[in-house]
Structure formats: C-alpha cells, structure tokens
C-alpha cells in the first residue's frame, strides 16, 4: 500500500514537472518572437512594414510613433511560417530611436534598413546607430541576429552591400575608440560601461561580433524583399 502511494505520488510529481517544463519552454518561445525594423530616417522602414503586412505600396511620412502588428509572412501566396510574427517598426528620428531598447528584451531578430543611395553621406550616423544597437545589453546577452538590408537598390546611386559593409566597418572602427574614451556618466554605477565591439588589436569586422550579422540588398519599392522574408522565416524557425 505504502509503496503504491509513494510511486503514485512520484509519478504525478514527475508528470507535473514535465508539464511545467514544457509550459516554461513554450512561454519562453512566445516571449521572444518580435522582429524589430530599425534604421535612419527615410530608409524605408514604414514602407517595408506595410509591404509585409498588406502587400501594398503606400505613401508615408516621418513616423512619430512605432508601428507594430502580427504579420503572416508569405511568398507568392505560400505562407512561410505557421504563426504570425510580431513586427515592430521603430521611428528612426534621433529623438525617438531610443525606444528600440524597450523592445529588445523580447526581440529575436533585428532588420536594419540602410538607404543605399545616401549611405556615403550618412555613414557616420548609421555607424553610430548600429553601435548603439550592438552595445545594447539585450542584444549582447541573447546574441540577437541582425540583417542589414541595403534598401533602395533600384536607384542609380546605390552602393553594393559589400561596399557599404566596408564603409561601416571602417567607421565603427574609429567609433569604438572614441566611445570608450568618453567620460564617465554622472551616476556611473560601474557596470554601465560602453562596449568595445570586436577584438582590440584588429580592425573591426562584423564577423567579430558574437551575434550573426548578414548583409543583403533589397528594394521595397520594386517589391524585391524576398531575401528579408526568407531570413525572417529562417531565424524564426530556429527558435
């Protein structure tokens, strides 16, 4: 009798534990299912968001607020993922960008849009924004993969992604020295230091980062966004 009771309780305990473990795993999975769309002003984020969601071209202006929604990714009518994916388009204006850090705890992938035609002029701002993203605590902790999509590829003055990659690497190379030499913040708690990206004695390259960084070209206007969609599907499938 006694052994029956004890085995019975052991079995129920074991089942309970298994159930709890599965529940937690599921919870964690759904906790991080967001893809962020970031980038400078005028890089095409809101247009991309609408393209993904409604497959339509729409006129947009500078966003004051973020756009978010659950989107069913599909390619030519075929769905790429089983469940809708949560996308958030954070405004690129300098004063509103910081909001992206509100979403990073639940982010599983970042799409960073770059305007290939004006990239040369803005390389410093792009590099600074990228630096901020890669130094973000959550991005480092969870090694959030990033896709740098070089948008507006259909323009004549657009640079190829390899060129853009080299330009950004040079710029970040310089930036990491100046950023880490900045004075301490007024209430520096010691743990709040700026990350030094990459390896110290070598020139910065994106492959030195722990998280995965890919470069792709795309054009939201001409609907050439399949690379972005397949990347998202792949990252989501890994979860």
């Amino acid at each position: 009798m006694i052994s029956n009771v004890s085995t019975f309780t052991w079995i129920t305990l074991a089942i309970l534990i298994v159930i709890i473990a599965i529940a937690l795993k599921l919870k964690n999975r759904s906790k991080k299912d967001t893809f962020l769309i970031l980038g400078l002003v005028d890089s095409g984020k809101t247009s991309l968001f609408i393209k993904l969601r409604d497959r339509k071209q729409v006129q947009t202006h500078t966003s004051m607020k973020e756009n978010e929604g659950y989107i069913n990714l599909e390619d030519n009518g075929e769905p790429l993922t089983k469940v809708p994916i949560h996308f958030v388009d954070v405004p690129g204006h300098e004063k509103l960008r910081f909001k992206f850090s509100d979403f990073t705890p639940i982010t599983c992938g970042i799409i960073f849009l770059v305007d290939s035609s004006t990239c040369a002029k803005n390389v410093r701002s792009i590099a600074e924004y990228l630096y901020d993203i890669f130094s973000n605590k959550d991005v480092i902790k969870h090694n959030i993969p990033t896709l740098i999509a070089c948008n507006k590829n259909d323009m004549i003055t657009a640079l190829p992604p390899e060129r853009i990659q080299t330009m950004l690497e040079n710029e970040i190379n310089q930036l990491r020295n100046t950023r880490t030499s900045a004075l301490d913040h007024q209430d520096s708690s010691g743990t709040d230091y700026v990350e030094f990206l990459g390896y110290e004695n070598e020139r910065f390259k994106f492959e030195h980062l722990e998280n995965e960084v890919n470069f792709e070209k795309c054009s939201v206007d001409k609907n050439e966004i399949t690379e972005i969609k397949s990347w998202v599907a792949e990252i989501y499938g890994r979860l």
């Binding site: 409604d54 500078t62 607020k65």
Partner: protein, 718 residues
C-alpha cells in the same frame, strides 16, 4: 488657396491626401521632424521653404491633420477647416481607423471638396462685410486705464501676463500670494487670477524690484559699467523687498556643514503617491462640484480609466505642473509652452486602466522632457577631432557667454609653467612664471576672478586679424609703429630762428608707460647751430643717446585698463605684436586662405611659421566665424539662471548673426552648462535653454537622460 491637405497616422502612414499643385520638397516630413517631435506642437504654424503649414491632432485615434498653403498668403480659415475636417473624418471613419491592422481606402474626396467649398465661401463673405471699428470699451487701451482695469473680465485674467521679463523676485511674490489664497476654492480657479495680477500692478512693483535686469543695449555707460562690475566687494542691502527671503528657503532643504565642508542635501526619495493622493482628492472635489449628477459615475470612470480627458480636467493639473517647473528654475514662458504641448497631445485620449489623470499627465510630461533633452546630433567630439586631425587641420572650439559663467580658464586647466611642469590654473598666483610663446618666461601680473566688463580689441593695422575680446586686465602685447622721427619746421617766426624738432618716445619702466618727448634745435645765425645740416646731425646724435628709446623692436606689454590711460596718439601708434613661433604642417586650401589673411602674406611652402598665440586667439572669447571658422561655437551658460536662460542664448545667437558679416552666419553649435553641481534639483535652466534654442547640450560629464529627467521629475513631485 490651399496647396495640399494630408491625413496621416502618427506612425507615418498616409490615410488620405489631396494636393492641388505639385509639391516640392517634403514639408510634412520637416514639420514632423522640426516641430512635432520637438514638442513644439503648441505653436500655431510652421513655415518651410515656400509653404506655411498648420496642423491639428486627433489624439484618441492617433491621427495628424496637416494643411499647407503658400506662405505669402494669409488664409484665416485654415484652422476652421482643420477642425471641421477632423470632426467629420473621425465621425465618418471611426471604425475603419480603429481597425489599424489593415490598410483601408478612405473615400473622402467628395466630402472634403464640399467642406472646403463651404468654408471658402463663408470666408469670402466675411471679407465683403465692412468691419466696424470696435467700441472704445473693447480696446486694449481702455483696459489699461484706471477705469478699465477695475472691470477686468475673467477672460483677460486667464491669459498669461504679457510682461516678457519676469524677475525671480516677482515670481517668488506671486507664489507667495498664491499660497496665501490656497484651500478655499481649490488651486485651479484662483491660480489664474494670481498670475493675472502682475499685469495690473506691475508698474508699482517695478520700483520695488531689487535685482536689476541685465541690459542688452550695445552701448554701456560708465554708471552701468560700474554696476556690472561684480569683481569687487560691494555690500548689497536687500532690505526693502516686501518678501522675506528667509521664508522662501525651506530650511530643511539646506545642507549641513560637516568637517568644514558644506554638504548639499541629498535629493530625497519623495513620496510620489502622496502627491498623487493630494491632488487627486482636490480635482475630485472640483469635478464633483461641476457635474454633481454624474459625479459618482465619473469618479468610477476615472478610476477604471475609461474617462476621456477634456481640457477642463487638464487645466488644474497643468497649472500645478507649471508652477513646479518654474520653481525648479525653468523659464516661465517655456514652462507655459511645454504645458501647452502636453495638453495638446493629451486632449481626447482615454486614461489608461486604473490610472488617474495626474499620472497620465505625469507620464506624458516625462516623455516630453525626455524628447526635448535627447540630443539630436551626436556630440562625439573626439570623433570630430580625429577627423580634423586626419585632414591636418586644427580643431577649433570657440566659447562665448556672459560674465562670470566660467569661460576663461576653468578650474583644473593645466597651464605650462616656465620650468616645464604643469599646474592647475586656479593654483597660480601673481609672480609665478609661465611659459611664453618665445621660450622666455612671463611673470603673472594679475589673476582675474569674477565678472567684469569685456573689451573688444580691434587692431588698427591693415593686417589680417580682426578683433578679439577680453576683460580689462588682459595684457596686450603691442609693437610700437610710430618711429622716432624728426621734423624740421621752417616756419618763419618773428624773433626766432627756424628749427628742427625732434620727437621721440621713451619707455617709463616704473609706470609701464610710453611717453612722448620732444626737443628743438634752432639753427641759423646767432644760434647753437649755424646750418640746418649741422642741427640735423646734432639731433640724430641726441636721439641715439637717449636712454629707453622706443624703437621698432620694442615690445610693450600692458593691461588694457592702463593702456586706455595713455594719450590718444600713443594709443593710435601701437600695433599688435606678431611673433612667429608655431609651425603648421601641410597648409592647403581653406586653411591657407585663413593663414594668409592673418599673416598678411601668402604662405609659400608647406610649412609655415605662424604666431603661437594665434591658436589661443582662436580659442578666445567671442570671435567670429568669418575669420577663424571655428569647428564648434559653444555657448557657456550657468545652471543658476532662471528666466534669463531664454535671453542669453538668443541674444548671443543674434550677435553672432549681426556681426559676422556673412550671408549664412554660423550659429551656436552647442552649449555647456556650468556650475551644475550648485543647483541641486533645480535643473530647469537646462530645459529652458534646450527648448529655446532647439539645440542640444551635453555637459562634459554626460548627464544620463533618465537621471536628469528624474531629477527634474522628482522635484516636480515633491
């Protein structure tokens, strides 16, 4: 004639638009970037390129309505058009808009056309009627007479006072009066009459005002000069003010003396809930008064958060917010603008669940503060400097600001001493020797601390350097240009022979002054010298013999205040000394042009010697971009100022524009706020300056955004 009309979401998606002509550039993007995100949404209109834009929000649906027309026109009906379209659009398409998960087609063309026609008709009709002149009772002049002021109506009082410069004493007095009338009718209603009072009796109060306002005229009279000289000890008796300053200082907030150091009181963790509870009860009372019928229902609504915020609800909360901002040293009209902007963003929105109006307003204010204080462009100076270095040019920073803010040499600046060591500037004393630019020692004659009049030194040689500014103890290094010369006068004088007159300049070491001397050599029969040539030779011999003769290689170092006591002729004969010491490498392009202007000759090789102090002059006070083109012009202000925080940066900007002589003058690139450690939690000056200029500041120790706003905020909730 309207050029275009757009309806878009706050997320940037255009729901409907109509343009009557081709649109150039992108004015809506500029509007959003420059005005709406900058929290200047309280303003009326915005001009960019050739367009004038007006807008309105529909906050509960997250929509923006924008109308644009040619800026040379003045269309009065735009605001009415915006309001009508907003109401119509929101009513007709409310459901579609709320379903924001999909794109919808909004069939609004005809309706818009109808509304536009109707409003345009109404407007043209009102132009046809000849407007009668207003009766005298309605004019402003009447209101300012004794009769009129007795009959002030409520609507007048509710407008903010038109007196642009409100001294801090006056604000203190207003706050006092407000506190005296507390409690009876609740804070909302009485407050407005309180702020209206200075309008009527400001004339009397002007005499009693103790603190003299800063005078911004270009000319300074002697009396004003003395009153602006704060460097000495001047006993200031402040007895005639009616408000006892002791009462205004909360004794509990003062720090304590410990071990001989004055420790500032820590910013306590004030109980935020306490604040909310107090105010919550008050506004609850007022709302109970107003709608006694549905009071219980609205009470529950405001708790559970379905209550829609109206202007009435916001008024008392914002008034209190404004008072707090002012108390924390934010300039008065900026506090008003901010509250306006927050109000515009909140009207019509529903409070979140279980949140009172106070906390919604507070949240919104926090977001606004954060937005204003976020730097727009990166202030990575090190990166800029690295860039300049790789281009082989010096990176110049120009500091400008009013007296006493701390521009000259800040505490801790290292100065190179003659013996090769470095010392902090505040440790230097009279008599120390610092390294001069020609490897000779310079003995410190005096040190300056405090405030005083600044002088602008304009070298009168036709050379390149324009002018610089310094205080009256600054030592000028001058070269004497009028060489000792001789003049022969052949004027026939009755009973006197012709003569040769010799002028020379002698240096009086004791007084550090150059004096002019002369002597006459008479020649002719019966005089010392028979002939003119003999007299001339004698004169030359005499000149060579003089001790302390001032010649062309004489360098005169004299402080400005002493220089001004020399005779006019001597003053006019002095030139700025131009030593050559520093070598600049690879001079090309723009830099070459600047250098050749300064040196007077075009540098021919890639290495030039140029004055070592030139670098210092460029980093001097207030020099203009047209000559030196500094990379950054930084305005230095102190964190202690209140309403002046608005004046100072704007006036300096104006001066930069007026005196630069350029088509597209440089403006200030950044601001440094000094003495931040003295302000404790009254950090409002930073907010005022940032808001006015639309520019960012980044103190040398970067103030973390959250902390700064939480400082302001904490004190707001205290």
């Amino acid at each position: 004639m309207l050029d275009f009309f757009t309806i878009l979401t706050k997320g940037g998606i255009v729901l409907w638009s109509k343009s009557f002509t081709r649109i150039t550039s992108s004015p809506v993007n500029s509007l959003i970037g420059d005005v709406l995100i900058e929290e200047r949404a309280g303003e009326n209109s915005y001009t960019k390129d050739s367009y004038s834009l007006k807008w309105t929000f529909a906050n509960e649906l997250d929509l923006i309505f924008v109308a644009a027309y040619q800026k040379i026109l003045q269309l009065a009906y735009i605001e009415e058009l915006l309001a009508t379209v907003k109401k119509f659009f929101c009513d007709k398409f409310a459901n579609l808009i709320k379903d924001s998960g999909k794109l919808h087609k909004f069939d609004f063309d005809e309706d818009f056309g109808a509304i536009l026609n109707k409003i345009e008709e109404k407007d043209s009709k009102s132009h046809e009627k000849l407007s009668k002149p207003r009766p005298f009772e309605k004019t402003k002049k009447f209101k300012e007479t004794a009769e009129g002021s007795k009959k002030l109506s409520v609507s007048d009082i509710s407008k903010p006072p038109t007196n642009p410069i409100i001294s801090e004493d006056e604000i203190a007095r207003n706050i006092e009066e407000l506190h005296r009338y507390n409690g009876k009718r609740g804070r909302g209603g009485r407050k407005q009459s309180g702020t209206g009072r200075p309008n009527v009796s400001s004339d009397e109060k002007k005499q009693a005002r103790k603190k003299t306002m800063r005078v911004w005229d270009d000319k300074v009279s002697k009396a004003e000069m003395e009153s602006l000289d704060y460097s000495g000890d001047k006993g200031d008796s402040d007895k005639s003010s009616s408000v006892d300053p002791q009462n205004l200082v909360d004794q509990n907030q003062l720090g304590q003396f410990q071990d001989g150091y004055y420790e500032v009181q820590d910013i306590g963790q004030d109980d935020e809930d306490e604040f909310e509870e107090d105010d919550y009860n008050e506004t609850n009372d007022t709302s109970v008064e107003n709608n006694s019928g549905s009071s219980i229902l609205s009470f529950f609504k405001s708790i559970t958060g379905q209550k829609e915020i109206t202007e009435q609800d916001l008024v008392p909360v914002l008034a209190k917010m404004k008072e707090h901002l002012i108390k924390k040293n934010v300039a008065a009209d900026i506090a008003a603008h901010l509250c306006d902007s927050v109000a515009r963003n909140l009207v019509g929105q529903k409070t979140g669940s279980f949140k009172s109006i106070q906390s919604t307003v507070k949240q919104s204010m926090e977001v606004s503060l954060k937005r204003i204080l976020t730097p727009k462009t990166s202030v990575d100076l090190l990166r800029d400097i690295a860039q300049a270095q790789s281009d082989s040019r010096p990176y110049t920073i120009c500091f400008i600001g009013v007296n006493g803010v701390g521009k000259c040499f800040a505490k801790g600046t290292k100065i190179l001493m003659y013996d090769g060591t470095h010392q902090n500037v505040e440790e230097l004393n009279v008599g120390n020797q610092i390294m001069g630019d020609d490897d000779n020692p310079r003995t410190i004659q005096s040190t300056t601390k405090g405030e005083g009049i600044m002088y602008r030194i304009i070298p009168n040689d036709k050379g390149p350097a324009k002018f610089f500014e310094c205080n009256d103890q600054h030592i000028l290094v001058l070269k004497f240009a009028a060489e000792p010369y001789m003049r022969s006068e052949e004027i026939p004088i009755i009973n006197r022979s012709p003569r040769i007159r010799l002028f020379w300049y002698e240096y009086d070491a004791q007084n550090n002054m150059i004096v002019k001397k002369n002597d006459s050599f008479y020649y002719g029969p019966g005089e010392d010298y028979p002939k003119k040539e003999v007299a001339k030779r004698a004169a030359i011999r005499e000149m060579a013999r003089r001790p302390n003769l001032v010649s062309s290689d004489f360098i005169w170092e004299i402080p400005i205040k002493d220089f001004l006591t020399a005779s006019d002729e001597i003053q006019r004969s002095c030139l700025m000394f131009k030593p050559n010491q520093v070598i600049f490498k690879s001079v090309q392009g723009r830099f070459r042009v600047i250098l050749s202007k300064i040196l007077g000759v075009s540098p021919t090789n890639s290495q030039i010697s140029a004055a070592s102090w030139l670098v210092g002059v460029w980093i001097g006070g207030g020099i203009l971009a047209s000559v030196n083109n500094p990379d950054k012009i930084i305005f230095v202000g102190e964190a202690l100022v209140g309403n002046e925080a608005v004046d100072q940066p704007t006036k300096f900007n104006q001066a930069l524009k007026d005196f630069s002589g350029l088509q597209d003058p440089r403006h200030r690139d950044g601001m440094i706020l000094t003495k931040f450690d003295t302000v404790d939690d009254k950090v409002g000056a930073a907010l005022s300056m940032t808001y006015t200029t639309g520019q960012r500041f980044y103190s040398l120790e970067p103030v973390k955004l959250k902390e700064h706003e939480s400082r302001t905020y904490h004190s707001l909730s205290s």
